[in-house]
Each structure stands twice: as C-alpha cells, then as structure tokens.
Amino acid sequence: MISAAEALKDFQKITPKTIPLVEPFSKGHRACQGCGEVLALRMVAKAVGMDMIAVSATGCMEIISSSYQTAWETPWIHVAFENAAAVASGVEAGRKALIRKGKIKDTGAKIVAFAGDGATADIGLQALSGALERGHDFTYICLDNEAYMNTGIQRSSSTPYGAMTTTSPPGPLSKGQMTWKKNMPMIAAAHNVPYVATASPAWHVDLMNKVKKAVTIPGPAYIHIYSPCPTGWRCGPETSIEAARLAVQTKVFPLFEVIDGQFILSREIKKPKPVEEYLKGQRRFSHLKPEDVAYIQKRVDADYERLLKLVQVTNPEA
C-alpha cells in the first residue's frame, strides 16, 4: 500500500471557487432547522462525490434522510446503531474480492461510514476500533453533536463537562455532565491509521479538503466533525455556525490533522477568545457558575498546550 504522503503528492485542494457542484446528499430531508450536522454531512458528500457508498449508523442522519423519499443520490445502507464500521468493513471486503475476481469493475468508489457521537464513542467504539485495526480502506465520519439528540438529548461520553442533558441534569448534587468529553480523535489516532482529522462546518473548505484527503489516502481514515445541534444545545437555529466557529476560536474544539502519525494544526489559535463566550451562547451551559467556567477554561488551555506539544514532537519542522 502506498503511504499517505505519496497518495497526497498530486492532491488538488478544493478552493472556494472549486467547491464541487454535485449533491450526493440531496434536498428534501427532515433535519431540524439550523442543524449543523446535516450541513456538515452535505459538505462531506460534496467532497467525496457521486462515486460514494455510504454506510450509516442509526441516529439523526439516518432517520432524517431515509424516509420514503431517500435523500441519498448514491448507494446507502443502514443496518444498526453500533455497527457502521463493521458494515463498512464488509462492503469494502466484498467489493475488494469481487474486483479481484473480475466480477465488478473498479470504479474507485469510496466507502464512507457516517455515525453520531453515541454510535462512535459509546456503543460503536468496539466495531470502529476493530475496523481501524484491520486496515479496511474506508473513511469514518463522526458527526459529533455532543449527546444522543435523536432520542431526546441524553448524555453521551462525548458530551462536554457541565452540559445539561436529559440524563445529566444539573441539580444540588450535579453540575450537569460530570465527566470530560471523551477524546475520540486521539483514540482513533492511537490505532496508527494513516489519516485522522477534526473538522468544523464553520470552516467548510477546510472540512471538504480533509474529507478529500481521507478518501484519497488508502486505508482507514477518521474525521471527527463538530456538529452543532440547536435543538439539543438550546440555542437559536441561526447560531449553529457561530457556535461552531466559537468552539474553534476558544480552543474548545481545535482543528488538526494526523497524517501518518504527524500532528498538524489546521489553524493555530494565537489570540483565543475566552471559553465563556462560547458557553454563554448555549442554554445547555446556562446553569454553570463562574468557578465552573474557570475550571473549563483551565482544562481547555491545558488540552490545547498538549496538542501543541504533540505537533512539536511529531512534526518538529512544522
């Protein structure tokens, strides 16, 4: 198998002027108003193009897209909640065998698995880990809206500290979510897969280029996309992109890539905004006290410092 660097040698970046016009994910779905996740999904689909085979986990994006009138213009399969990576493994293995035996033509179709944070970080983590370890040639997209939004805003292991959900309610004995957000991109990177990235719909060209890289590089790729959910985050539907942008600007959700183990910052935050600015836009954090905000700020700063060190250690020339 060729290396990631070799595969990306002739990589043609998508620019604002060359954003693909294709819409593998079409209009007519039933996402909530202001859904950041469906916006991210549409960008992913545009970047991959029409030669995509989509595998979907159970969740918002499956429910809103697969009614009578499916929103998918490319082949799509949904099986269950926790197994998108395993189903994608099967699709990849099946096609590989059929191509080798000359039963189907190799059109270079890209296999892309879509799953929410619950389907990725909780119930589907084992299947994802297995598929990444086995080295199937597929791209896994985690659309992270930071809770089980499809079932009515229950906490997941990807819910950030302090967030109010229906199963992490604040009260005299609780601050809301009591644990820190599980670091899925780092877990994926620990599998030594050729490509891992974080992305945000607020930086849509960056997002699309990361997806394009992921499907260009042979082997497994993982992209963790920050996907605001106005319904679950208790913010206005018009504020989705603002929330996504603030998450990056406050270092809450830094954008980076890990290519063949080398960490690359997509956007260095030299003058970060205070975390408070991000938190105050969402009512899921409205119960937090100044000391909670200070605690979150401290942890966000420490995590960002750690990321910078990883960049220095793995990629000293950057």
């Binding site: 799509w76 269950a80 099967g90």
Partner: protein, 391 residues
Amino acid sequence: MGRRVGLEVSLACAEVVGLCNADVVAAYPITPQTHIVEHLSEMVADGHLDAEFVPVESEHSAMSCCVGSSAAGARTFTSTSSQGLALMHEILFIAASLRLPIVMAVANRSLSGPISIWNDHSDIMAERDIGWIQTFAENGQEVVDLTMHAFKVAEDKRVCLPVAVNLDGFILTHVIEPIEMPDKAEVEAYLPGFEPSQSLDPANPISMGIVGMPEIYTEAKKANAVALEESYSVIKEHWEGLAKQFGRTYKPIETYRTEDADTVFVTMGSLGETTMTAVDQMREDGIKVGQVRIRLWRPFPVDDFMEAIAGAKTLIVIDRALSPGLPAGPVATELRGMMYAKGAKQYVANFVCGLGGRDVTRAQFVEMYHSAQKAAASGAEMSCQMVGVKE
C-alpha cells in the same frame, strides 16, 4: 468426480464453502465452531480459496460485516455458536429483512450460565423468529450437502434470504466421518456464480435499510414472512436438483420405521442417529416405534410433518433446549400448536435431554417410551420432563 474421504466434519464444512467459491468469510473464534474458520483461513492463506477473510473483533461485527459484503454483492459465509449467535441476534433480523443471501453454519452449543462449551440446541432455539431459513444436519455428509444447498437456495431470486445450517457442536463438528466430497466442477454445475438482484453500486444507487414508518413497517415484515413461507418449494426443488446430481436425497422431514409405528420419537440434528439405534433395539423387543426427524426447521414443513406422524398414536418430542416458564420445550410447544390447528389427535409427550453436552443413551429412549405410554394411557396432560437429572 467426487471422492470418499475421511474428514473431520468442521473441515468438510470449510472445504465445501471453498468449493462454493465464497467471496467473503467473516470469522470470530468460538468453541466448537473454530475449526471451520481456522480451516477457511488456511485455505485463503494457501491460495486454495480466493476470498477476503475478515477476522472481525466480535460476532456482532461478523454478522454486520456479512450484511455489508452481501449487500455489496459478494457470496458471504460465516459460522458461529452459542454466545456468538446470541451476540449476533440483533443483526440476524436485519440480514433477513434486507433479503441478503448470507450462509452461516451454526455449531450448536448451550448458552451460559453456567458456561458450557458442549452441545445442545439452546442457541438456535433462541433464534427461531429471525426470519432465516434453518436446516439441521444429522451427519457430516448432510453438513456438506446442506451447505451447498444453502447457497443455492439463499441466492435463488425467488428466495433471497439468509440460511443457517445447524450442526451439533463436538458431536458433529469434531468427529471424523467418511464423506463423499464433490469436486469443484460438480459444485459449479450445481451452484453457478452469485448474481445479486441488487447491490450497493454507485452506477445504480439504492438505499437499503431505510426507516420503516408505521404505514410501511407491517408490509415490510409481511414481505419477509411471505418470502420465508414461499421458500419452501424452492428448498425442495434444490434438494431434488441435489439428488439428481449427487444421488443423495433430502426431504424436509425424514422418517425411520414409521410405517406401522404406534409411537414416534421426534428429533432434530445428530441425535437422530442414536434414535435410530434405539428404535432398532426396541423393535427387536417387539415395540412398534419409529422416528420422525425434522431437517427443515424454518420454514416449518407443516404438511410433511402431519403426514409423517399420521399413523402414530403417541409422539415423543425430544427437545434439546428449555423454554422456562412453559410446560413444554420449544419444539414440543410449536408442534402442539401446529397439531392443534390441524385437529390432530396424537398424544404428545415431551422430554428435554442432552443439555450442555449430557450424553443421551439408548436406555433413556426406552425409559422415555415407557413414561410416555403410561402418561398416554392415563390420558392426563404431560408436562415436559427432563431426562437423567441428578436429584
């Protein structure tokens, strides 16, 4: 021409999957299924089988991987046992409702707890309603033939359903038997290449596994049920084809010495062979007994079964699994329900034996016979009895 070989049944199962030219094998180890996928992995490593061998991280992922590869249009095989089958449970329904022709060998084994690696039918009896075609093999030859037949039926465009071939763990899987192994050309003549009616192809995009709103869910389930019911004639047709080509005949229900039998033992799987020896012994003693063996469990061959028991007065149904909370085991419960609907008058005695690998002896068949006769003579309803319990 095929040849007669002495082969461990697991290896024979793997060999025939190779002869069937499977494209993808998903594999997760579990006793006593392991020898099947071990041998398949060797065949792939040695270049004797051109397939993708996917060593998944769990049985749940094994069945999920099978769904993916079958949906991609690849001939797909896996095998499992016991807890592994239980872990697949969720996906088994989906494989059937997506109409994917996956073939799976189930090396039947008991379920925890307590943990036991040995044979009974608890695993598959917990999967009665998954919407798969299910057959039960009695010996190694049947494993080979039913596996070939499974691909043939599953991929038939009139069927498009997954098939589970059940073989008793250890009692069959780990036994060396003389087996007529067909050769490659013979298998290819019986089973041509898989041509899926639809697959995940960007040139012809389809959505599989969409959300079923209340206005469509019932119809989707009915379609699955009707397909399973209608597979019956195709199953028989392909057994006839198998008989024509290989000279071995298969029927949904097999009978042994039932012509003038007053009492018949109803069995499934490898216990059938022990039952035949018990029947022979009791016949020598002048007892008119016979055996009815269920080879096709789903779709259940109701009419064949009713015909097979028509002459008998008493049925002794042997269950290899419990149905706690009911007065009968799973097989007896189903047969009673079926017979009631048909107005049948036979007395049904029910025994559970051979749980978790406990041996079933010929002497126990005699005991079962006498208990059943006594109960039948009294006319009183007989709750399920467990055979050979140490109390």
